[in-house]
């Protein structure tokens, strides 16, 4: 082999490949669409045939509800198939559309003719599209037809149900002596079937049987052990506990019903599933087993529920305050009612399986329903409560009469021959009643969990408290959440279960929920609940994200950049508002509300806003300006409109100012923008402080000046630059006035500095003998004589001069006399 592949070789093969491609692949493409059309046509035709067959079946089997449901499920599958068959055209269709667009519209008359190739390609593409359209049209027609058949089935089933309830049987035929014999025969047949199946299976298929049993047990054990671990304290009431809490009793009742019932149902369901999986179920044994398992689960559930509510042996744990004796009876009666109903249901399946005579069905149901009716009357007759004297008292009259009415209705309906109705009623009373009771306990539990402090005391909260940093308040709020979750679960599980009981099918329920979630049209306005809920959820997420972002920005980024607190506050607030607005907008658009509609509304409202909300809007805008311009920030000492104090918080509408008396003043932002605002601490806290002091006339003013300057300069908080200054301010009425002017690095310390300086002045003046004068007045008497009383009078009279005594006359002689000041004028 040559080390190097000859170049011409490569070229040759390449050319060949291209040729081959041209020769085979292009027709293959065309063939591809051909086969797509053919295959889909075949598929749709196939579906149509099946729909024909099913539609015939519907007419043939219009009396069997189970069959109708099966047909309906099959039809729904076919509808999906038709849909998918049409969906397969989409890629090719968009390809064709794209190509057609490239080719452009056909030229009209008078325009130059198109090249032949373009014309032919367009024609070909249009033909292909037309054939697709025809097929999709057929599919559409077929899907409409399928929907029609499904609607027809629904109608048939409604009729069937009504007929079952209203059909009257001849019960005299059912009440002859042969029926007992026939009944015994049927039982014998059941026995034979079961025993033959068992002996066969044990003999030949023992291993799979053991395996199925084992697997079912494992599955049930998993659920039971898991449930017990999770709800440990809830399942078993503690007999030693004297007074369990209401919540405790409720949750024990709820979980001691649900967990064992679910485990038991799991056991039987998985047993059935595995038996089926290992092909151990024969066609005659499967329905029998299914009915048997259903009945067992039902009876078990009802019994557990009654037991949990009434707790016959543990009076402390009873939910209903009934007498112990009555509790036992009620549990027994409820269990018996369930058992009789279940027996009737089971025997009905047996009769259907073995094709027994109608009289047997009628007889069994007659007896069973009448027993149920009587049992219900008996329950109504129990006297469960105690009156004030401790004597037994019956149910509240409304409940008692309801029970009586139900019981009598069932008995009378059965005796008149309306067996179907009586049966339906008794089954619903047992099953729906049990579900409703469970739901009620669930709702009560939710209420009890939500009540204040209840959750915090519960077992779950205690465990949470141990492993998490939650405090009592948080736990209490968690209780609210828990209660809501329980409520939602109760509704979500309970309501579908009841609806299923009342003859609705699973498909109906899902269709309903889709419709609920979908668009709701009111006039031209359309919205969907899910859309709105999504919008709210998105808004909440956005809100929390904003909060988190704010905290992160403030705590991590801005704290490290050594920004001052005012800027940080501004940015933080601004980010908060922006985030909130963005979250709101995203939420609104996620809710599917068109923002352009909103703009229209806003336009209409703007006039109203202009007039009515003028102040608020002006304050709002002022708030934004305050945040952006920052004439002051939180923590500043400002003076505005007669208010002096520290700014605490700048909100969007108003600013909070705390005066030095700790009074909070809310000042609208517009006032802070429109009027002058004094800020003591705008760029820095440096400020000048003045302190006036007067000395008596005759003091040595230079010495005073020197002393004051020394005192001012010596204070540690007084700035050296600008240096302190002492002003000889003037010649006052009673004193020579000085003023100390000092600059402080922090104006907020001025009170302390004032104090210090004043103390120092008093001390210094006392040491130097400088007097701080009282206010003084000289009184001139222009005419007449003042009578002078006392010993000093003659002397006073002697020296009577126009200058008379001053109020300081009584002062001790050693003290320097205040002298009349020289008139400054």
């Amino acid at each position: 082999m040559p080390a190097q592949f000859p170049l011409w070789h490569v070229r040759f093969w390449l050319a060949l490949a291209v040729l081959l491609q041209l020769a085979f692949v292009a027709p293959a493409l065309a063939q591809g669409t051909e086969s797509l059309l053919d295959s889909q046509r075949k598929e749709i035709a196939n579906v149509e045939r099946m729909v024909d067959r099913l539609a015939r079946q519907v007419d043939e089997q219009a009396t069997e509800d189970g069959k109708l449901v099966e047909i309906r499920v099959e039809l729904e599958r076919l509808a999906r198939e038709v849909f998918n068959a049409s969906l397969a055209f989409r890629p090719r269709l968009s390809e064709i559309n794209g190509r057609l667009e490239q080719l452009g519209a056909a030229r009209g008359e008078g325009e130059p003719a198109e090249p032949e190739a373009v014309l032919s390609e367009r024609t070909r593409l249009l033909d292909e599209k037309a054939s697709f359209n025809v097929l999709i049209g057929e599919a559409e027609r077929l899907s409409v037809r399928i929907s029609g058949v499904i609607d027809h089935i629904a109608q048939l089933r409604r009729d069937l149900f009504a007929r079952t309830l209203s059909r009257r049987y001849d019960i005299s035929a059912a009440l002859n002596t042969d029926v007992a014999g026939e009944f015994a025969d049927e039982l014998l047949q059941v026995y034979r079937t079961v025993s033959s199946w068992l002996s066969f299976t044990v003999k030949y298929r023992l291993k799979p049987l053991m395996l199925a049993t084992f697997l079912a047990l494992v599955a049930a054990l998993c659920l039971l052990v898991g449930g017990r671990r999770l709800f440990g304290d809830f399942i078993k009431p503690d007999p030693t506990e004297e007074a369990p809490t209401y919540l405790g009793r409720l949750s024990v009742a709820l979980f001691s019903t649900l967990v064992p019932s679910a485990s038991f149902a799991m056991l039987l369901a998985s047993a059935y599933y595995f038996l089926d999986y290992f092909r151990l179920l024969r066609t005659d044994i499967a329905p029998l087993l299914f009915a048997f398992f259903t009945v067992i689960v039902l009876v078990f559930f009802v019994y557990r529920l009654a037991h949990a509510i009434l707790a016959p042996r543990m009076a402390n744990w009873r939910l209903l305050p009934v007498r112990s004796h009555a509790a036992g009876r009620l549990v027994a009666l409820a269990g018996l009612t369930a058992a009789v109903t279940g027996f009737d249901y089971f025997m009905d399946s047996v009769y259907v399986l073995f094709g027994s005579p109608l009289s047997l069905t009628v007889a069994t149901s007659l007896l069973a329903t009448m027993s149920v009716g009587l049992l219900i009357i008996l329950i109504g007759n129990v006297k469960p409560f105690s009156d004030d004297d401790g004597q037994p008292k019956s149910w509240p009259s409304k409940f008692r009469y309801l029970l009586f009415a139900l019981g009598v209705t069932i008995v009378v309906a059965a005796m008149l021959g309306y067996i179907g109705f009586a049966r339906f009623l008794s089954q619903q009373i047992v099953v729906t009643g049990a579900i409703l009771a469970t739901m009620y306990i669930g709702v009560l539990t939710a209420g009890a969990v939500a009540s204040e402090g209840a959750f915090a005391k519960s077992w779950l909260a205690r465990r949470l408290e141990r492993y998490s940093p939650f405090d009592e308040t948080t736990l209490d709020q968690l209780g609210l959440v828990a209660s809501m979750i329980i409520n939602v679960l109760v509704v979500l599980i309970g309501v579908p279960l009841i609806l299923l009981q009342w003859g609705f099918r699973w498909a109906d329920l899902t269709a309903w929920s889709y419709r609920l979630a979908g668009q709701i049209q009111i006039g031209s306005l359309s919205f969907s609940i899910v859309g709105i809920l999504t919008g709210i959820l998105v808004f909440v997420l956005g809100y929390f994200f904003t909060r988190w972002f704010q905290t992160w920005l403030d705590g991590s980024v801005m704290a490290r950049s050594r920004m001052d607190s005012g800027v940080r506050n501004s940015i933080r607030t601004g980010v908060g508002y922006v985030g909130l607005v963005i979250a709101g907008l995203i939420g609104v658009s996620a809710a599917g509300i068109n923002l352009s509609n909103l703009a229209l509304v806003a336009g209409a409202l703007s006039l109203g806003i202009g007039f009515g909300l003028q102040n608020i809007v002006s304050n709002f805008v002022s708030g934004l300006i305050l945040l952006a311009e920052r004439p002051f920030k939180a923590g500043d000492w400002i003076v505005a409109g007669g208010v002096s104090g520290t700014v605490r918080k700048i909100s969007v509408r108003a600013t909070e100012i705390e005066t030095f008396q700790r009074q909070t003043v809310i000042l609208p932002n517009s006032e802070l923008i429109n009027a002058a605002v004094g800020n003591w601490t705008h760029k820095n806290k440096l400020g000048r402080m003045e302190l006036a002091v007067g000395v008596a006339y005759g003091s040595d003013v230079r010495r005073v000046h020197q002393i004051l300057l020394e005192i001012a300069s010596e204070h540690p908080l007084v700035l050296k630059n600008p240096e302190p200054f002492v002003l000889f301010a003037g010649f006052g009425d009673s004193s020579l006035d000085f003023e100390i002017r000092v600059f402080l690095s922090d104006i907020l310390t001025q009170l302390k500095v004032q104090n210090d300086i004043r103390f120092a002045i008093v001390d210094a003046f006392a040491a130097e003998g400088i007097e701080i004068p009282f206010p003084q007045r000289d009184i001139h008497v222009r005419s007449g004589h003042l009578p002078v009383v006392g010993a000093a009078a003659p002397a006073a009279q002697e020296h009577s001069t126009p200058e008379t005594a001053t109020p300081g006359d009584a002062a001790p002689p050693g003290k320097p006399r205040r002298r009349r000041k020289a008139d400054p004028e």
């Binding site: 889709y514 969907s528 068109n594």
Partner: protein, 90 residues
């Protein structure tokens, strides 16, 4: 604040449990109203989409006939853009 919190949590729970349904939407880029024929679940209806309007329809699969006669099948998550009477699925 507390009741609001309740509502929010309830909402979240509902959303999680309910799942989210979708709908197809049609946008009309033309200056005149366009009519779509929508067949959904056995009933046929005409849907008029105004100029530059967006409508939501078809929650769970439907057949649509576009203004130019083309037929399409929608699963309920697409957006149809109508321009010049032609539709384009996105």
């Amino acid at each position: 604040m507390k009741p609001m919190k309740n509502v929010l949590l309830m909402t979240a729970a509902l959303l999680i449990s309910g799942g989210v349904a979708m709908a197809a939407s049609a946008v009309n880029r033309d200056s005149e109203p366009r009519t779509l024929v929508v067949t959904e679940g056995g009933s046929q209806s005409e849907l008029v989409v105004g100029p530059s309007e967006t409508v939501e329809f078809c929650n769970s699969g439907c057949f649509v006939t576009l203004p130019n006669g083309d037929r399409e099948v929608l699963t309920g998550s697409e957006t149809i853009e109508i321009s010049g009477g032609r539709g384009r699925i996105q």
